[in-house]
C-alpha cells in the first residue's frame, strides 16, 4: 500500500482536530498503519493530544509538539514530524492550526507532501462567524492555500452548534458551501456530525456522511 497524506485545515474552531482524530481512528480501523501529527502552532486548548489515549489504544501514532499541554506558550514543531514522511505508514494525517496563521506551519513541508498521494481537506462550519457565506469560505480557502503552499482538494461540511445540532442545522446553509466548492472546482467530501445528525441525512448525501465520536469535549460539559 502506498502512503497517503491527508491534511486537515480550516477556520479556527471549525472542528478540524475532532475530524482529524476521527479520520485517524477510521483509517486505523481499516487496518492501515496510521500516524497523526498535531501541527497546531496557534491554540493551546482542545488539542489532538487530548485524544492521546484513544489514539494510542487504536494503534495510531501521535506526534505532537513538546509544548502541547505543557504550559509552554511557544509555537514550534518537533523534528519527529519527519517520521510521518519517512516512516512506513499507510496513512499520515496532518492536523493544522486555524486559518492561514495555522496553515503557515505546513508550508515548509509542501514539497515533501507533494511527492506523495495527498489531499488537503478544508473544514467549514457555517454556523461560525466569518465562515457563514460562500464568499467567506472561498476567501478562507484561498488564504489557507497561499499560506500552506498546497491546493485544497475538497471541503468538509461540519456545520454545527455543538450539543444543539440537528440534521437541519447541518444542512441549513449547505448550498453556500456547495456553491463555494463549485467555484473552487473541488467537491464537498464529507457531511460530518454525531450519529443522530448524520443518520438522518437525505439519501443523496448518505455516501458523504462521516460520523464523529467526540474525543475532545470534557465529560462535564
Amino acid at each position: 500500500m502506498s502512503k497517503k497524506i491527508t491534511v486537515f485545515t480550516g477556520h479556527y474552531g471549525s472542528g478540524k482536530t475532532e475530524i482529524a482524530v476521527n479520520f485517524a481512528l477510521a483509517e486505523a480501523a481499516k487496518g492501515k498503519k496510521t500516524v497523526i501529527c498535531d501541527m497546531d502552532v496557534v491554540n493551546p486548548y482542545f488539542r489532538t493530544k487530548d485524544a492521546q489515549k484513544r489514539l494510542e489504544k487504536a494503534g495510531v501514532r501521535l506526534i505532537c509538539p513538546e509544548f502541547a499541554n505543557s504550559n509552554v506558550d511557544l509555537p514550534s514543531l518537533p523534528g519527529e514530524i519527519n517520521a510521518a514522511f519517512d516512516g512506513d505508514y499507510d496513512s499520515a494525517i496532518l492536523d493544522l492550526g486555524g486559518d492561514d496563521d495555522g496553515a503557515i506551519a505546513v508550508g515548509q513541508y509542501h514539497a515533501r507532501i507533494q511527492k506523495f498521494d495527498h489531499e488537503m481537506l478544508v473544514v467549514a462550519n457555517l454556523k461560525r462567524p466569518l465562515t457563514e457565506s460562500k464568499q467567506e469560505i472561498i476567501d478562507m480557502v484561498r488564504s489557507i492555500e497561499s499560506a500552506s503552499r498546497l491546493k485544497a482538494t475538497a471541503l468538509i461540511n461540519n456545520t454545527n452548534i455543538s450539543y444543539e445540532t440537528t440534521t437541519e442545522i447541518l444542512l441549513e446553509n449547505a448550498q453556500e458551501l456547495e456553491d463555494a466548492a463549485q467555484e473552487l472546482g473541488i467537491p464537498v467530501r464529507f457531511y460530518t456530525g454525531v450519529r443522530d445528525v448524520v443518520a438522518n441525512l437525505p439519501g443523496e448525501l448518505k455516501d458523504k456522511a462521516f460520523e464523529l465520536s467526540l474525543n475532545l469535549t470534557p465529560d462535564w460539559l
Binding site: 482542545f46 462567524p129 452548534i161 444543539e164 437541519e168 470534557p218 465529560d219 462535564w220
Partner: protein, 356 residues
Amino acid sequence: MSDKVLMKGNEALAEAAIRANCRFFFGYPITPQTELAAYMAKKMPKAGGLFMQAESEVAAINMVYGAAGAGARVMTSSSSPGISLKSEGISYIAGADLPCLVVNIVRGGPGLGGIQPAQSDYFQATKGGGHGDYHMVVLAPASIQEIVDLTGEAFDIADRYRTPVMIMGDGMLGQMMEPVTFENVGKGASDLPEKTWATDGTHMKRKKNIINSLYLQPEDLEKLVLEREQRYQVIKEKEVRYEASMIDDAEYVFVAYGTTARIVKNAIKTLRAEGYKVGLIRPITLFPFPEKILAETAKRVKGMLCVEMSTGQMVYDVRLAANGACPVEFFGRTGGVVPVPDEIIASFKKMVGGDK
C-alpha cells in the same frame, strides 16, 4: 432556521460588546484571551469603531481611561498577568468615577504562571488589585450564552454607577465553544444617566469638565471616597446576581462559580442519584457577593463545600456570609488544573464522613 451560532467565549464576548455599542477597544494579546482581541481587530472597524493594539497593557488601560473620560463605551481585555499590569489604571479609573469594561480570562498564576484555566484572581478582582478604597463590579459567567448576556449588562452597570466593571472568566470559558444567540444584547438601557461629566467638548455652552483622581486635601478626598462608598452600598442592594439550584431540600450546599460550577453540577447529579440531598449556590456577581442567600442557607444546612480553581479565595467570603452558622469546607485544584466531578464527589464524601 436557527439564529444560534457556534462561538468561543472570547469571540462571543467581543461580538456582544460591539452589539452593546462599545466602539473602542484597547488591548494587548495574551493567551488564553487572544481571540477576543483578534475578533475585535476584524470586526470593530466594520462597526465603525476603533480597535487598537497598544504597546503594552499599561498603555491599553490608560487609553481606556482617556476614552472613558470622553464618555465613550470602551473596554479592554487581558489575562491574569496583564490584569496585574492594568491594575494601576483600573484604580485611577475607579478614582475618577469612570465607566468601562475590563475582561479577565484567568490563567494559572502567580507570575507568568501558565496558560490553562484558573480562578486564582478572585482576590485581585474583588478585593482591589489596584490601590485605594474602591471596588469593581465583578461578573462571573458560567456559559458562553451567559458571557454574551452579561456583557450587555456590564456596560449598563458601568454607566449607571460610573464604575469599572470586570467580567471574569477562566481560560476554559474563553476557549470553549457553545451555541449562542445575541437576541438579549441591547444597545444600552434607556434609563442610563447622561454623561454630563464627560470631557467631550464644552461647545462654549458649559464649564469645562475635568477628569481627575488627585485630591490633595484629605477632607475633599474623604468626601469623594465616602460618596463612592454609598454607591457601592446601592450596588450591593440592587445588583446581586446568583443562581440557586436544588437548595430547597438540600442538607449540604456547594458554592462555586464559572466553569467550576458546571463541573460541580455534574457531581451533584451523581450525588443526588446516590441519595445525597445536595444543591448549588453559584454567585454570578462576585462583587457584590450574594451574602444574603448564603447566610440564609447556612442557617438550615449541615455544611457547605466551596469548590474553586485556586487554593481557596472565594471560600473566605462564603465563610463570612455563613458567619459560623454551618461548617464551610474547601476543595480546589490550581495552577491550571481543572477539577473533575469524581474528585469533587470524593471531597464531599470525606466532608460528610464517608459513603452512605
